[in-house]
């Protein structure tokens, strides 16, 4: 059964919230139940930003969870906070460009990749969120890549249109790295 409770977390501006939305839109496009809930308020401004995304074949009860089945951590504070919380058997995607510690857990699958560096090579370090999302989807098989590409087309804002192709590349590059992990 497809069911994933994912936390996306990073500095404000790293696009953790958008990556989460992209996953939620993709889940919805595949007729799954979805919830997306952000941390909001003062911590939005400059501090860490995170969101919880649940994508499921079942109707969703609790939209806020203590132990995610997957976490995407884009910076060090996020790693410190969420690495210990991932459920055994879950997935942790780590942006090693900004996280210089390693997970010591052996009961989860850890995908460590330099998402910011990969994104920068593709033209813009701010696509690290999509690189990481690619890795997450590869690891969980939650939705199809085609669906995510479609949602990128629909939801990338007007002023970021020029980054559509590089974003698609970023998605697949993240997936490729996850596969080789």
């Amino acid at each position: 059964m497809r069911h994933e409770e994912t936390i996306f977390s990073g500095f404000g501006g790293q696009g953790a919230l958008f990556a989460g939305q992209l996953l939620a839109y993709s889940g919805m496009a595949e007729d799954l139940h979805v919830t997306w809930i952000p941390s909001y308020g003062p911590e939005m401004r400059g501090g860490t930003a995170n969101c919880t995304v649940i994508v499921s074949e079942m109707e969703i009860g609790a939209p806020i969870i203590r132990h995610p089945t997957a976490a995407v951590v884009l910076n060090l504070p996020s790693m410190e906070k969420y690495e210990p919380l991932v459920k055994p058997g879950g997935v942790l995607v780590v942006n090693t460009s900004l996280v210089d510690i390693e997970s010591e857990r052996d009961d989860i699958r850890v995908i460590a990749l330099p998402a910011s560096d990969i994104a920068e090579e593709l033209g813009n370090a701010r696509m690290a969120n999509v690189v990481a999302l690619g890795a997450l989807i590869e690891a969980t098989g939650l939705v199809d890549f085609e669906t995510v590409e479609q949602q990128l087309e629909e939801h990338l804002s007007e002023r970021q249109r020029e980054w559509l192709k590089p974003n698609k590349k970023a998605l697949h590059e993240g997936a490729a790295r996850a596969k080789s992990e």
Partner: protein
């Protein structure tokens, strides 16, 4: 209409537009400001009225004025703003004009914080202002439900010429979920007979909450009470989950209500036969149904994001028919499934 990924705040605002909302007056406050922002664009686009007031005090009195003029009007706020509106709420109740208010509850008291909370329960259901009145209070637990309840709120407000509140919380406001908006309804073309529209071809209409003379005011109050009794008799709403064979009964509303659906699922997996009653109206309250279910249950667990405000109503309804445990989180902390499970297991053990 297709399903869309909608944020709770945007969803209630757009649902209001589509239900023929003619005017909105409000003041920004987290965690509901996206609703005000959405309406600032949409209502102007539709040629209707949007005004950002100088305070919640002014906002509610603008709402009051527009309601007297006979238009479909609403505002939205959060606890500290609702406190400022209390004056207007009482006048609105006393002069019997229909008004809808969304309250996205946040942590208190005082400035508190902006995290989700349910500590305005007593305020909304029991003491929304001075004098004897109660608003009708609806409690949605999902983005879809808040959309549906906006339409219902206008219907009930106009049917009973009363104040209807939608008790959301920060989580409902900030969450995005797939939901379906209603089709666009046209704005009403006529205004009610009682509204102030100019004394043309009729006697003047006066809308006031002033009733000099004790007997006079008592008559007004008795009429209000009669109306509230009718609301109580007809408008209790709740949703039950797996209550048919339940040994234990969970009671929770709003965000906590939906969290408890996960608890039911987990508990059933663990072999505990638990059911859930989720009140969809906080006033009137599902006391008869709660009493009925409590009589069949070994124990009741009430879960709230407050120190036990709804708990008092549950205690009154259960009236000793079953032991009651309470699990409350305060200050904006959202209770998690595991901690509710732990309490449920305790209740299970205690009542075996």
């Amino acid at each position: 209409m297709a399903k869309e990924l909608l944020k709770g705040n945007v969803a209630f605002a757009e649902a209001a537009v589509r239900n023929g909302l003619e005017a909105y007056f409000g003041y920004p406050i987290t965690p509901q400001s996206e609703g005000l922002e959405h309406l600032s664009g949409r209502l102007i686009e539709e040629g209707r009225v949007f005004l950002q007031a100088e305070s919640e005090v002014a906002a509610i009195n603008m709402v009051y004025g527009a309601a007297c003029a006979g238009v479909r009007v609403m505002t939205s706020t959060s606890g500290p703003g609702l406190a400022l509106m209390a004056e207007g709420l009482s006048y609105i109740a006393g002069s019997e004009v229909p008004v809808v208010i969304v309250n996205m509850m946040r942590g208190g008291p005082g400035l508190g914080n902006i995290q989700p909370a349910q500590a305005d329960y007593n305020f909304m259901t029991k003491s929304a202002g001075h004098g004897d009145f109660r608003p009708l209070v609806l409690a949605p637990s999902s983005v879809q439900e808040i959309i549906d309840m906006v339409g219902l709120a206008f219907e009930l407000a106009e049917k009973y010429r009363t104040l209807v509140m939608i008790a959301g919380d920060g989580s409902i406001g900030q969450m995005m979920e797939s939901a379906e908006l209603p089709p666009m309804q046209p704005v009403r073309e006529t205004r009610p007979d009682w509204a102030v529209t100019g004394a043309k071809g009729r006697e003047k209409n006066v809308i006031t909450s002033l009733a000099l003379g004790a007997e006079n005011l008592e008559r007004l109050n008795l009429r209000l009470q009669e109306k509230l009794a009718e609301v109580k008799a007809n408008e209790v709403r709740y949703q039950t989950y797996d209550t048919d064979d339940a040994d234990l009964l969970l009671i929770a509303y709003g965000t906590v209500g939906r969290i408890c659906t996960s608890v039911v699922r987990e508990a059933r997996k663990a072999g505990i036969k638990v059911g859930l009653l989720r009140p969809q109206t906080l006033w009137p309250f599902a006391e008869d149904k709660i009493r009925e279910l409590a009589e069949q249950a070994r124990g009741v667990l009430v879960v709230e994001m407050s120190a036990g405000q709804m708990l008092e109503d549950v205690e009154r309804a259960v009236a000793g028919a079953a032991p009651i445990r309470f699990h409350g989180r305060l200050g904006g902390v959202v209770p998690m499934v595991d901690e509710i499970m732990a309490d449920l297991k305790k209740l299970d053990a205690e009542t075996k």
